[in-house]
């Protein structure tokens, strides 16, 4: 039997000294590997800082886009109703409601006790009766401003706010 195969069992390595030597070599080899992995390559710290900086820039960019998306990102703008449109809408609603009260008055010969007596109501409006004929319709804008339609002195601003409600051919 020859001893050419290093992996084949050899009688002499079964000795205590050889086993200790081989164990020591193996441990040394493992420690060398461990030490090698623990050492960062020369460019790694720079790479880490570069990635962290880029990530921070991307995060800031993402936050900016999320909070105030520019038009090239969001597409066509979709605005909310303006204060002027809300004001005009409330005036139109008040005028429509006042027309309903007038119709009720002509039909019934009296003013309604509440707007709930009318067949249709605009939400958020209140009726205040001054006497059997004169009344007020009140409504508030989102900022708390009170708008009052007085049937005794109707402001043209209310009817002007709802031109589509005017009869055909009226000025």
């Amino acid at each position: 039997m020859t001893n050419t195969d290093s992996d084949a069992p050899v009688h002499r390595i079964s000795r205590v000294e050889d086993r200790d030597r081989l164990l020591a070599e193996t441990l040394a080899h493992a420690e060398a590997h461990e030490a090698h992995y623990k050492v960062l390559p020369a460019g790694e710290p720079e790479h880490g800082r570069w990635k962290a900086s880029l990530a921070a820039v991307l995060l800031v960019l993402a936050a900016w886009i999320a909070l105030t998306p520019p038009r090239w990102v969001a597409g066509v703008e979709a605005p909310f109703p303006t204060a002027g449109e809300r004001d005009r809408g409330l005036r139109a609603a008040i005028w429509m409601q006042a027309s309903q009260v007038e119709v009720f008055r002509l039909r019934e010969g009296r003013l309604p006790e509440h707007l709930s007596e009318l067949p249709v109501q605009m939400p958020g409006l209140t009726l205040v009766r001054s006497n059997n004929r004169v009344f007020q319709i009140r409504g508030r804008l989102a900022d708390g401003e009170l708008l009052v339609f007085d049937s005794a002195q109707p402001s043209p601003a209310f009817e002007a706010a709802a031109p589509g409600l005017r009869a055909q051919g009226t000025p």
Binding site: L54, A55, A63, E85, G89, A93, M96, V103, R166
Partner: protein, 185 residues
Amino acid sequence: MTPPSPGRGGVTSGDVLLALASLALVAALAYPRTERALLWRTVAAAQADVETIRAAAAAFRDDAGGWPAPAEAGKVPAEMAARLPPGFSFESGSYTLEWSRWERVDPPDPADPEGVVQPPPGGFEPVLPPPADSEVQVPVETLGAVTVHASDERVLAALLERFGPSESFVRERSWTLVLPVGGGG
């Protein structure tokens, strides 16, 4: 055997941070456009629904001589149902439709400085008792109205812009299109 170079085969915290930041940027870029696209799709659907209701109401008015009877928000008016496309609903995921009728008296005489609507001939002051048969002829005009209720006020603003302030108005979380007596078809 040569061990692999450190840092080449593994993932570092910098890599993870960079990947997360990239995902955040992609999401920030994609969300506004997607959300805006969904909004405009809702506006287009609401506009088409309003046009459908307006056409159905006008067809009913041409046949019956008056606007259909009103219905609660989200409910199809019975008199209008036959003139609407099959399966048409007044309830959408993003908005609710409502058909109503509003009445108005003849406009006041421009020569009247107070502009107050005058009582019918004979007057009713002092207060008259209500008519027994409710057949009093009052010069009343009836208007039709299509209302869109939506929680997203941008939908209402877009409808106001598309139909114009001469026909419609925004009130709280609703937009109303008024169909005049002689038009709207």
